[in-house]
Point group: C2
Chain length 342, copies 2
Amino acid sequence: MARRSSRITMADVAHAAGVSVASVSNYLNNRPYMTDDMRERIASAIERLGYQVNSSARNLRSGRTHLIKLSIPDLKQVYFSELAEDVLAEARLRGYGVIVESTTNNRERELDSVNSMGSHTTDGLILSPLMMRQADVHLLDNDIPLVVLGERLFDVSAPHVVIANARGAAMMTQHLLDAGCRRIAVVGGVRGTRSEQSSGVIRTQGYRDALAQAGVAYDPQLIVETDGWGSRDGADAVRRMLADQLEFDAVFALNDCLAWGVLRQLRACGVDVPAKVRVVGFDNVEESEFMIPSLTTVDPSKREIARLAVESVIQQIESGTRAGASMIEAPIELVYRESSPC
Amino acid sequence: MARRSSRITMADVAHAAGVSVASVSNYLNNRPYMTDDMRERIASAIERLGYQVNSSARNLRSGRTHLIKLSIPDLKQVYFSELAEDVLAEARLRGYGVIVESTTNNRERELDSVNSMGSHTTDGLILSPLMMRQADVHLLDNDIPLVVLGERLFDVSAPHVVIANARGAAMMTQHLLDAGCRRIAVVGGVRGTRSEQSSGVIRTQGYRDALAQAGVAYDPQLIVETDGWGSRDGADAVRRMLADQLEFDAVFALNDCLAWGVLRQLRACGVDVPAKVRVVGFDNVEESEFMIPSLTTVDPSKREIARLAVESVIQQIESGTRAGASMIEAPIELVYRESSPC
DNA sequence: GTGAAAGCGCTAACAC
DNA sequence: GTGTTAGCGCTTTCAC
């Protein structure tokens, strides 16, 4: 029956063990040079008293909290919840806890999670920005350990862990071209050019690059813009494409959720996948494997992204400063499944 | 251009503003009785120096971190990521941060998150236990603010926020009976009786209760057990049911993911939903609305669960102790969609 | 090897 | 209303 939290302090332990607080501290921090006898007495006292370190005190003294903040747009988006899970696991492995902050696609919140970094609650930040503007980046202009995730490369002096969006999209497009497709619709794509460097823009560019490379003409009609990137948007897109009698022999949905909707709607309309139309996605979210047909997609290896991000932010924390700008590209891979076999 | 973290302390601010640290503290904590003049001088000094409170120091002194730990089995399961998102939002609203801990269906980890509670990193715990055994509950026998989530009602002296699993399952079964179904298969159900009080067991019981109530015979054959609760398990189940030539006019999948798999596999096998077979789920996960056909399901109002849990744990934190055992049942509701219209 | 003691930056009790 | 000050519990020199 544990007492109220830990009223028990290091001093109590020291007293009970007949040693000094310094020795208890040494013991707790695995410092060498200590007689086995003392080690044992301290251990037993700790056990007996049910002592637990007070991390607030430790944090104050050491200036570290062993907490990382993970700021992402929305946990309800599978991509991010899977990424978060991987970040949690990786951080845990390295002895860090994670405060998750969901910015719910809200610029204010993104700025908040940046602004609050000075308050020492967390040692570093892994930020997946979505709404920040160029004008906001000066807020990141400090020495706090930071890793930026995703493709939005602001002029921020910090390591970026990026997905090879353009390359992934190009590879996937190439795969479809190799399979003989010539009318590849891009659901969730962005027509024309925008200054904004969203994943949509970049993936669309990758698609166009691959077409160009293969000498296949680019038809803007095939770019089907959507409101969001959920499965409903994918289904809506297909509905429109069919209504407009758009000709296409493949659909490249720019993320897996869109692809789910595409798959469902095509099936509902009696279009055979992959015989009549091939369908591919991007993100390799777990559920995609279980679609019928299972979804061919680009795997951005979230595990590796998480590992790289956590590793970098911890390295910065332990070295004491923000690392300079850099771009770490996570490996990318095509996963061939039934919706577009190899 | 911010300096390295905040070397700037309250003393610096006090000095710059020509006041005492106490006044700065008062200002920061919105304490009353303070001339507007002083208020302004402090504000401007803070602004000028770019001061930010050091939360470690504040935490040590106040004994509070304004951090809650949320311990759940797995963020990759949609139900939990949606719940987590709601918990995050609710906590944020009330000025608390959330450390998310994913126990990955691992008993050790569950115990860890409980054990580490004494170390003052977080003020309270919202725990969704899955693997804990009766033998472990003594670990929860302390005064630390705690809310237990889900149906596993151990003999723990703390508030429980529970889903009305039995009632929800019974209501849904009743709906199917009302629609004329008499052979309702339960995918993910648990045959026979087990001491264990998992959601599966309880939801199955709710189903049986409804049958009994309606005077419909219970056929154990209709209980289709599955390995897990993912969509693949749902699809597998249907495959087996069809192979075994099981007769059924409805499928009650005990969660939405199972239901997705059921929907897909039935469709793949040319079984019309809902004309031939009705399909319903449990959890009302966002994606379910976009299935084709859209999924009728039980809505456990995660938002409300999150609200109740956060509210209770914060109330405990602010009142200074663990609240006694209690059971707060979150409201439940059937959501009628195409897979089984009303 | 071990211990004494000086803070880390803040809050709150109390004095003015 | 405002200032002084004593710790919160720990880590870390620096003596011994």
